[in-house]
Subunit: 453 residues, 2 copies
Amino acid sequence: MEIPPRVRWMQDIFGEYQRYFTFLKKVARHEFRTNGFTRITTPILELKSLITHSTGDGSDIVTKEMFDFTDKGGREVVMKPESTPGVMRAYLEHMLEEPQPVYLYYIEPHFRYDRPQKGRYRQFHQIGAEIIGEVDPILDAKAIYIMAQILDGLGLAGTYTVKINSLGVAKEREKYLIELASFFENKKHLLDETDLARLEKNPLRLLDSKNADVKELLKVAPKMTDFLKKDSLEFYTKVKEYLDILGVKYEEDHTLVRGLDYYSHTVWELVDGSGRTQDALGGGGRYDGLAKSIGYKTEVPAVGFAFGAERLIEAMIERGVQLKNKDKIHLYIMQLGDEAKKLALPLNIEARKKWLNSLLGLGTPSIKVQLKKANRVGARFVIVIGIMEAKKWICQLKDMDRGTQIEMPLDNVLDAVIAEVGTDALSFYHPSRDFIISDVPMSEEKMRRVSMD
Amino acid sequence: MEIPPRVRWMQDIFGEYQRYFTFLKKVARHEFRTNGFTRITTPILELKSLITHSTGDGSDIVTKEMFDFTDKGGREVVMKPESTPGVMRAYLEHMLEEPQPVYLYYIEPHFRYDRPQKGRYRQFHQIGAEIIGEVDPILDAKAIYIMAQILDGLGLAGTYTVKINSLGVAKEREKYLIELASFFENKKHLLDETDLARLEKNPLRLLDSKNADVKELLKVAPKMTDFLKKDSLEFYTKVKEYLDILGVKYEEDHTLVRGLDYYSHTVWELVDGSGRTQDALGGGGRYDGLAKSIGYKTEVPAVGFAFGAERLIEAMIERGVQLKNKDKIHLYIMQLGDEAKKLALPLNIEARKKWLNSLLGLGTPSIKVQLKKANRVGARFVIVIGIMEAKKWICQLKDMDRGTQIEMPLDNVLDAVIAEVGTDALSFYHPSRDFIISDVPMSEEKMRRVSMD
């Protein structure tokens, strides 16, 4: 029997890669929280109809690159390819009575049954945010600003370009698309099959063309922003004004459209300028129409964005961003024999209480094996407790950097190690600072809020 | 058209509930990291065969309560009902050459197509850990100790009981099961249908019976621990010895078995003693046989445990554990008119740079509407910038607690607020402390470690 392998194009995240992922989440969480965002976790599964409706046309085509199936209760479900439709659904169910707008962020796995290619996984992770329930161009600008802050926080300052565009409202877009289609009508011979299909079904997608001829043509083609009427133009102008106030540099890109069809007004991408490709690190836009597309009675103002976590980590590594290791093992406690082990175990616990990261040697291996392990985990200090030491309540303390060794009473050894590694290196934290235990029963209102039912 | 609802028995986690979840993850992460564990994230999907093999019998029955389906590439896949088989698979693929044992933890959504009932969700979250690759009873004791530390960290000290048992090795269990079955053979009339099926297929499951008669009988039935031979008994004795050294109080429970079949030697549960039920908050055990069950050439020593996140949060709420709100909004910045807004936006950003949590009034609503909002978000201070204030570069500062209002230059107002809320309340953090940007290209070895391919 062979070991069933990993599902293809899905990854185990651990070790060094996981450390980047952890740092990424920490930076994003901090930026979100200090800007008044709270986290939301929507289920991995959504009804297929939510996803198909979110595209506005309700067709099944959108699910062709998804993990969709029928569950044991006969529900057609999809492993979510993105979180925005689910967050909007959750907003409409739970948050209409909250102070508006609501500021939400998420860190979630998403799923696409994509053609496999380097750097794209069928389970990938996105860090994103949505601001729902009130309209103001300041929110579009702030969303872009927060994205830039996160990239700067990751050490990516100066490596990316902010590109923005406005798609106006549906009516304006309709007029523009007629003009755009008519512009390409007598240039069909220059279009490949994909672009011809786009011209037929959704000419806006032509702006996304990878075809060099089409890209050249787009420079002289009609521009969406020329079709914006007074309100849309004013909205777009204000977004740019606020970006200036916030000190965010941007480029206007008239060919910028997003891969999803529910956007209106402002759209943007943060594009990697350092690498071989002009890949988007993340992007976002306004999607006032989504609520109505999925069945709500009116439009609901909303603006949001997302980063691809794997893409960000790739960019950090390209940039040379190297993380400090806060989980460094300070101390390896080596024991030789059963009696030594009984002293080593409480010492290991005591070390932890003093915020030293310590590892305990296990089993009954040789000094040589344990020393090798201490080396591999990068422990600065090794405490050796042998049979003689156990009897005398002492130990040998080895400094692996300096290659020295001294004998010491067990009672003093941890403080001696702390004096050497420095208190800065220790992981002070005590959960009890974060809560109180109350005798007063929770109010019904609060109980309701902590209940998911 | 109706809004497609949430998938039944799956939850949106946000607001107050999400804050408990966040705290829970923080406490667990801290405990794991200081004990030398690093995080692993295995994919949500695993091949169905991995899950069926992990039970040891390869039957399909185990997937009857799972979300399983055939993907577009014809693979039979399962949305993982637990993480242990996936972590073992990942260990065998990536970590055999690491220093042993490897200490891994995870915080993951899991999925069961269960009969719906209060407090059980079809997507639920588990926080767990696995120690794989070296055998030592000290690891079993430490795993239990870490679980207890996490519960204490959550404010649950004194509310739970640690129950332990030993299931020995397969040979010992076989002998025991023959005795157990024969004990019940002439008492079949006391068994209900479920228990009769258990007697037939897997008599060990009888220990789990909810039937009062059976529970009574189990008091005089043969006990697993009486069938342990020298090695198993010594192993179990040492686990208990180390628990004593670690100061973990425990009860031996001869009827304790775990819901999964891959366990051997030590098994345990941490049982809520405060509530109406004797529900397990979490549990774990040794599963040396799992690696072989899923197709590896030999057994691999392993011990692990998991908590149900939803269950822990329920226990915290029952206990009266109330979280301090670190995301409290200190400051609401109210603007009246376009010119005021252009001053309010940079003030909002400046506040953030000074680590004040501030919210900015949006749109062009009335003073009344904005004040109401400031109240609802619980802002201690409100800055008002009207048309006159904007011209004079001043503002009104309202203290909502004291009901006072003073006029102030814009330049001083943030420091005035900080002086009142106190620096303890601020969220100091700067990501740049956590990394360096290196000009030296990464070593190939390191590149390999940060690449998931």
